[in-house]
């Protein structure tokens, strides 16, 4: 089996899903596709070859024989091959231009992991942007949305971490399913696979190559109903994702950064071009949930503004606004430090407030899916 997966020469960025792949596949056909992909045939040529015939079997030729061993290898890696005719293949993804004819997946079924929202951004991000991406990820996940990102350093990793705190997340790789790039995210990848999923169109054993990532980005935006760009330079991968999102008809959101922050140049450009602005995580969650509802991805959502907090708990919750110190809460609530500390700790455990440095912040809206 060769270990080179080459980009398809002359790929124009547009093909439709062959009719043959929309019919249920036999095990041996599925295995044959995996073997063909492992042998170096890229998605465009795969789709092209299949499009010419009405049964997948006919394109496989000699590869049908390797079918079993290819599937065996996948199951040893703890992964599976997903084709468009499978229930698990997301409809969202099948509807884009150039949908991947073959996906390698580790973790939960993809069709359970929706509605999804993508968070992408710079690898070399500023700390503030990283923290914000984490908060966004956590807020989305808490609202029942699945966060899709690319397992890269910086914003991607922060978004995954944030989402893992409250829910599940999906990582789309630019390598084979058995390769971890960057290597320091091995543990993160394991956690993502156990509560969400890891997805790639590249066959096992394929390492990271520069041209993989733009191709991978179309899957990130394809899986999501909206794409959030947290921080991105001009000519960055995140902007490529935003471009795909627009082509695929996904909503693009962007965060503000300081006017002189070079890492935010791309984001400023997006905003100039009409991307939707994110003011704070709660508003972003509300906007994306509205979108999901409108597109029929989920049932109506409900804001639990009427909190079932009583007595001192309610007092402390109300005294905590944006970035309040404990000293401040003590003064406004009239309780002593000891009491305030333990009450805040209790509120934090239940997700009503959160702490950053020495400051506490109220989580305004806890949105739950009903």
């Amino acid at each position: 089996m060769t270990r080179t997966w080459l980009p398809d020469p002359g790929w124009t960025g547009s093909w439709v899903l062959p009719a043959a792949l929309k019919q249920p596949l036999l095990e041996r056909e599925r295995g044959g596709l995996v073997a063909l992909s492992c042998a170096g045939m890229g998605p465009a040529r795969l789709a092209e070859a299949i499009a010419k015939v009405d049964r997948v079997d006919t394109v496989l030729g000699g590869f049908a024989a390797r079918s079993k061993s290819a599937l065996g290898m996948l199951s040893r890696l703890g992964a599976r091959a997903v084709v468009p005719s499978d229930d698990e293949y997301p409809d969202q993804l099948a509807a884009i231009d150039a949908p991947p004819p073959l996906l390698f997946v580790r973790g939960r079924p993809l069709n359970e992991l929706r509605p999804a929202v993508a968070i992408v951004g710079a690898r070399a991000c500023t700390t503030g942007a990283g923290r914000f991406a984490g908060r966004l990820g956590a807020s989305f996940a808490e609202a029942g949305l699945v966060v899709v990102s690319g397992l890269a350093r910086g914003i991607d990793a922060a978004a995954h971490h944030g989402a893992l705190r409250e829910g599940s997340t999906v990582a789309v790789l630019g390598t084979g399913i058995d390769v971890c790039y960057p290597a320091e995210h091995l543990e993160l990848a394991g956690r993502i696979a156990s509560s969400g999923a890891i997805v790639t169109e590249f066959p096992p054993g394929i390492g990271p190559r520069a041209w993989h990532f733009p191709s991978r980005n179309r899957i990130i935006s394809g899986l999501a109903i909206a794409v959030v760009i947290v921080e991105a330079g001009t000519r960055s991968g995140a902007l490529i994702t935003a471009g795909f999102a627009l082509d695929q008809g996904r909503e693009v959101f962007a965060c503000t950064t300081g006017p002189e922050n070079p890492a935010g140049a791309g984001v400023r450009e997006l905003l100039k071009d009409g991307a939707r602005l994110i003011v704070d995580p709660d508003q972003a969650v509300a906007d994306v949930l509205d979108l999901a509802q409108m597109q029929g991805h989920c049932a109506p959502v409900r804001a639990t503004d009427e909190l079932d907090l009583k007595g001192d708990l309610r007092l402390v919750y109300e005294a905590t606004t944006e970035g309040t110190t404990i000293d401040h809460i003590t003064t406004t609530s009239g309780l002593d430090v000891k009491r305030v500390s333990s009450l805040l700790s209790e509120l934090e455990l239940d997700g009503y407030v959160e702490c950053e440095g020495s400051r506490w912040r109220r989580l305004e809206r806890r949105i739950v899916r009903t």
Partner: protein
């Protein structure tokens, strides 16, 4: 023509009695000192000669040999000057050997015959007592300190005066009343009431003082971390006599005893700069392993500002003393054990630029932040029970007058808490909550169902490691002690969880 007298030299922070024998023999005039003297003892020959001459005596023009026993112990310091001079004068017939018996002499000589203070007079007196000697003759300025050993101490200010005493003149010995010295109102550096606001930090200090917990303050520049640390010695329980003697011994051995103070009655506060070497921190040196900052902070507070800026070797060297309360310095020639039971107060910025978590934006790239945090190893942070963020105090709040309880008030509460806990802790052979062994924690804390449930929930949500859970329990136990409760309640655990900021930040 032979004289014999007792002196003492320092070994570590203890003194070892040394027998000094002086022999005058005919021959060319020379003065030889044998018995492993180091350079300062060798130089004593010149000081002794001039001192004798300027005390109106003739320096014997003959072959002088002085032997220092035990001969295999390296002797250092100028404390043997006086006993050498008196030995020569006695051997020369200016006094009777009888006058040297039953006494220990220590003191450094000036060329004009004056007796200058020495390091370690308290230990010398203790050594004299355990050697069965009846009194100590020491420099007048050290007499108060030496008298603490419970032995009559006779202070002399010149060689002449010392010779008079050897010849039989009687003088009333100096006495020291250690109890009175301890009871005298301690001069505090800094009163906790002077700190405005920062109620959380003040509360944390009280908890730390009551349980003996080490503390890490993280906060932007100008948040008063240094002031908070300075306030800690003032709220710790007063030193007991034994503790005060331990501290005095150490300070006396390195010559840090304040002028005119015989007994150190306040808890020490040491704040080494982050340029300190590992030897400077834990002790060391080639000829004499000098006690380091951690030993000087024994029974007191070691404050390390800019904690992550300390060299890695220094930080890691702290781990073992933090655990054991002693440090053993082993060099090729000797091995010395110093006491080092101190409370560590560390302070750091939240990030290299100092603005993380404040109103001003942090401009540190994440990698830099990781590197900054990684300088503090897990095992080291494990030995610090309380981590807390302190915020900057707003200028407006500085002006409002909210003076809280004074250091003395807080200290009374802390002493009361410790006294209550002490009985319980004796069963485990420890003196404060911070030292409770992990295995006994559950037994000590007596969690009920509700507090157990909240701890499990918090461990789950904040992803606390087993070690972190133990630290939460130790701190919660102290909080319960302050409240005067036998068992640890739900609120105690909830409060203790807010003092574990480092783990929370690692999540995000």
């Amino acid at each position: 023509m032979l004289a014999r007298a007792m002196g003492a030299v320092l070994h570590g922070v203890d003194a070892v009695p040394v027998t000094v024998e002086v022999d005058l023999a005919s021959g060319l005039p020379t003065f030889t000192v044998v018995g492993l003297p180091d350079a300062t003892v060798q130089e004593a020959r010149d000081r002794v000669r001039s001192a004798i001459t300027h005390s109106d005596h003739k320096y014997p023009m003959c072959r002088i040999t002085a032997n220092l026993a035990p001969s295999d112990l390296r002797k250092q310091g100028a404390g043997l000057d006086l006993v050498l001079a008196l030995g020569i004068l006695t051997a020369d017939g200016k006094a009777h050997q009888k006058g040297l018996e039953g006494r220990l002499f220590c003191g450094e000589l000036g060329l004009n015959g004056e007796v200058r203070p020495v390091r370690g007079a308290l230990q010398a007196a203790e050594a004299a007592r355990s050697a069965g000697l009846g009194e100590i003759v020491c420099p007048a300025r050290n007499a108060g300190e030496a008298a603490l050993a419970g032995l009559p101490a006779i202070g002399v200010s010149s060689l002449k005066e010392a010779l008079e005493i050897v010849r039989g003149r009687t003088t009333a010995p100096t006495t020291s009343d250690a109890g009175a010295m301890l009871a005298a109102p301690a001069r505090t550096d800094f009163d906790i009431a002077q700190i405005r606001d920062q109620d959380v930090a003040k509360r944390v200090l009280e908890v730390a003082a009551a349980g003996g917990h080490n503390v890490l303050f993280s906060g932007p520049p100008g948040s008063g971390k240094t002031l908070l640390a300075r306030a800690l010695p003032g709220i710790l329980p007063a030193l007991s006599l034994n503790e005060a003697l331990e501290v005095t011994r150490i300070h006396s051995a390195v010559g840090l005893l304040p002028m005119g103070e015989a007994l150190i009655s306040r808890r020490p506060f040491r704040a080494p700069h982050h340029g300190v070497s590992a030897a400077g921190m834990v002790g060391g040196g080639s000829a004499w392993a000098r006690p380091g900052e951690i030993t000087l902070a024994h029974r007191g507070v070691l404050f390390m500002d800019e904690f992550p800026e300390f060299p890695r070797s220094v930080l890691e060297a702290l781990r073992q003393p933090l655990e054991d309360g002693v440090v053993t310095i082993t060099r090729a020639r000797q091995s010395t054990t110093y006491p080092a039971r101190f409370m560590l107060v560390a302070a750091m910025n939240p990030c290299p630029c100092g603005h993380l978590g404040t109103d001003r934006p942090c401009r540190c790239p994440p990698r830099t932040l990781d590197i900054y945090r990684q300088r503090l190893s897990g095992p080291l942070l494990d030995r610090i029970d309380i981590h807390i963020n302190v915020g900057r105090v707003e200028a407006a709040e500085l002006l409002t007058d909210t003076s809280g309880p004074s250091s003395a008030d807080v200290r009374t509460r802390v002493e009361e808490t410790r006294r209550m806990g002490a009985e319980h802790l004796r069963a485990f052979g420890v003196t404060c909550n911070a030292e409770i062994p992990s295995g006994c924690l559950l037994e000590v804390c007596r969690l009920d169902e509700r507090s157990g449930a909240v701890l499990t929930k918090a461990a789950d949500r904040h992803r606390l490691s087993a070690r972190s859970v133990h630290r939460v329990l130790r701190v919660a136990k102290t909080i319960a002690d302050i409240e005067g409760r036998e068992s640890v309640g739900r609120d105690d655990i909830l409060e203790a969880i807010t003092y574990r900021m480092v783990e929370r930040e690692e999540r995000s």
